[in-house]
Amino acid sequence: MKYPFLFLTIFLIVGILFGYYFVVSISYLIFPLLIFFLLSWVFFGLRKIKACFTSILITFVLFGSTYYEYENKKFNSNELYNLKISQYADFYGTLYKSPQKGLVNDYLFLKVKKINYKNKELNVSGNLKVSVKKSEIIKNLDNFSIGDQLRISAKLLPTSGYRNFNQPIIDKFLKIQKIHHRAYTKSPLLIQKIKSGSSFSPLRWLSFIRIYLRKKIEKFFRSSLSNSISQEGAILEALLLGERGRLTEKTKRSLQRAGIYHLLAISGAHIAIISYLLFLIFRLIRIPQRTSYIMLIFILIFYALLVESRASVFRATIMAVVFLIGKLLWRDVNLINTISFSAFFLLLMNPFSLFDVGFQLTFLAAFSIILFASKIISFLPKLPLRISELFGISISAQLGILPIIAYYFNRVTSLSVFLNLVAVPLIGIIMSLGFLFLTISFLSSNISFIIATVISFLIKFLLLICKFANEIPNLSYRIPQPPFPVIFGYYFFLLAFLFPKKFKKQKLIITIFFFSLLIILITYPFPSISKNLKITFIDVGQGESILIEFPGKKKMLVDGGGTFDNSFDIGEKVVSPFLWSKGIKRIDYLVSTHAHPDHINGLKAVVKNFEIGEIWEAVSPSEDRYYKEFLACLPENIKIKKRFRGMVINEGKVKIEILHPGKFKIQPTFVHNDQSLVMRIRYGAHSFLLTGDIGFQAEAEILKYFKDIHSTVLKSPHHGSKTSSSEEFLRKIRPDYVVISVGEGNRFNVPDAEILERYRKYNIIILRTDRDGAIEFSTDGKILKIRRAVKFDKSDEYDNILGLF
């Protein structure tokens, strides 16, 4: 057997998945685990190698489950993870990573020892990620490094983010990094160093070097507009130090579209480039081969520690170091075995990393390069400069990660295959110049300035290439998540190409199946059909976004949520993934109730990511800056339809009535809440009233024009604020349910307590996105069904009421 670790790793993964999908108590697992462990010893003693290996594999499955359950339980029962305090508290602890820099916030990673909350000491331990609001004046964050003991005044952030159906909640990503909670603090002044870390700690030295190098990059790569680091500097920082915090969304998007964003994560490719460069240097200065292996091992480990073992660096370094050790021990080195081992090792360190997208991408790419690259290269014509080799490697890596990219990032890009040909050598040159720059920056600032200029130029060139490539249509696009059977089928037939030669006859069938699955994967030909009328109030935090699926194929999206400062792209990261998870490719009616940021900012990403039929709006506020930004994102020749009071649109058996606002004599140049577009959607016995952000005045106006507008479900006007939901309005609408779309702990203090009391007075059942997550109503015209993303306990008041329906 040439790759025993492949089997051990696969069975360990099976064990972890088992533990993940079927929660089994450790006490049930530990006994069989011991039995199979002993059995393998016995078989080993009896020299029954096959039986021994089988029981070892079973042992590993059981071990994987046990280990996952243990770690999961440990994490879920952590005190910091379960801590619920809403005000500022003092957190005491030690930094376990160097401070990270971002664009809006900087980040600190604190191993918490105790907490002081309202003058009470709590002994709580766990890992805390603190976002610190960036300050131009106070720069004390630069003085902190690993090992320092700090006191941070901060507010805990909710562990779960946006809770929508079939969507991962945010704490899963934190779990992978073993961070128990996130916190926010509004100023670096609220952080104080209590004690410096021990100066004997080597990690601290590395942290100093790291911070020093970062300052060098900051010094030589300044943006001409602001006082901060330029985007070229941010890219160099990502390439050399593995920190991507200061890339703007625009840069990221451009690289992601081009499909070369992965090159910015220090990974196998980088380690390969670094090793290759060092080998060349060692050869030049005539260091014997074996000595250079040993030196390389030390340099790689040093580098991995310097970039603070970002998971991707760790993976690549383990692969490389194990490979070199094998060579040093005069052993055969089988790449499949080495890579399997490195996966095995990482899973032992942290079983959650199996669910890390980066983990999956690295290993799939590495495996498919090993398995397929040489075959693909042999099909390609021989080209100079190793172009065919690079091309073959690029294609084989793409084959391995295509389903994962489509599944997690909803993207299909064939650009990367071509761009890699330019980008990989270019990044190699940039990196080697970067290391030269860092070395020389210690000696002469004049020379390093020249090198920095060259690097800046090269990175600009890289970005320019991406920009041009992105202009080419149809090479990079977004699609809904491919279904699991398609992904499994794809991998099955991909591996089937490796079947031994005697299956020659089956080869044609395998090829046909593989390519048809590939086409399904990259086109997503499944229509999204709904039997009932489905209305989903998406959890977008503070803001509003409502998806309406009509019986049949047609879809409507009312608003897209959004943050006020655009700091987080709700449209890209919450609304679009939710729509994709439903298999939606086209929005037939995109409705913008009014151009306020918490309603319209999220639509910018939606119009880019989906095919849009037509846009509905009442007001086009030509002077409004949010509206102008939205218009800039729209594709050319899109139909924008004006909708005013009195219009009725039939979509199959569903009736859409526009209740507000009336036709304007002069189109306003700005929009206010009372001009929100109000719609009533009627299907059989049930109607839904979608009210935007209207207040008393608009409510009164609606009541003036419409007599019978009883609705089963009312979307609480203006997030349940004090100035809406008048008594008279509620009396006329007589809803059974009211849905309030609000963010947890929002700064407007909505919904208002008085309004909630008013809803209760009229016996209206309250559903809120901050408590229930996404809320889905489904009706065939007669029966109304309700589903929520967050399930409460049995004791919960809502469940008891809802249980009746």
């Binding site: 057997m1 014997p288 094998g326 005069w330 052993r331 089988n334």
Partner: protein, 244 residues
């Protein structure tokens, strides 16, 4: 305890780097087996037939008395004695090729031990006071990363306590390898290729000259001649293998 620790290391190494013998492709079970399995090593046996008293060449003759070969009788070699471990064929040949051309330096230890066995079998070798390997041209040595004869010399030094001298005999001409030339050209090829740098070290001393393979003997002859000129007393030659 020590033993079980060794077992664990062995297990890890075998799992991490499952390796196969370069010659017979059988699985290497122990981490002490590098590149070549123990069974293959055991297949190498010293030549036990009748040989020339001087140069060690196998001779077919009806005489039962040990005697010189035809070649040694006509042109008397400059060295006193040459012995090889075995014939340059089969497993021994494969191993020497792996050692020299596939840069499997790790094989040097066991090959050195083979040389030592030959040395023990001919006690006259113990008269030598210094060990000198046949040198490589510096550029060739850089390419290969090591001088195969030197590795064996170092091993012999460890086993016998005879001093190994580095950089006494050096190569000053980058000649094409002997193996690509026919017998007649070999003699001229190595002519004037060697030089003795620190003759004081070998002055009036018995020298043990080490080479990997003895074919035509031209290299050995040339080295012996030069060493003799520099003042060496007697020259004994030890090689790993000799062509038939």
């Amino acid at each position: 305890m020590n033993n079980s620790l060794k077992n664990v290391i062995n297990l890890i190494e075998v799992l991490l780097f499952p390796s196969y013998c370069e010659i017979c492709s059988s699985f290497l079970e122990s981490f002490e087996e590098k590149v070549i399995c123990n069974e293959c090593w055991e297949k190498i046996i010293p030549y036990r037939g009748q040989i020339c008293l001087k140069c060690g060449k196998a001779i077919k003759s009806s005489f039962y008395q040990p005697h010189y070969c035809q070649h040694c009788l006509t042109n008397v070699p400059t060295f006193s004695l040459h012995r090889s471990f075995g014939k340059y064929e089969g497993v021994l040949k494969d191993i020497i090729l792996l050692f020299k051309f596939k840069r499997k330096r790790v094989l040097g230890k066991k090959l050195g031990y083979l040389a030592y066995e030959t040395l023990k079998a001919n006690p006259i070798f113990l008269k030598s006071e210094v060990i000198i390997p046949v040198p490589l041209y510096p550029k060739r040595e850089k390419e290969r990363g090591f001088n195969q004869c030197e590795i064996i010399a170092i091993e012999l030094e460890k086993l016998t306590n005879i001093r190994f001298l580095k950089n006494v005999l050096i190569k000053i001409k980058d000649t094409p390898p002997q193996s690509v030339l026919d017998f007649k050209k070999r003699k001229n090829n190595v002519k004037g290729a060697f030089y003795v740098k620190n003759s004081l070290h070998i002055y009036k001393k018995n020298v043990l000259l080490i080479d990997d393979v003895y074919t035509s003997g031209s290299t050995i002859m040339e080295c012996s001649k030069i060493l003799k000129k520099a003042g060496a007393k007697e020259i004994f030659v030890l090689t790993l293998a000799q062509t038939v």
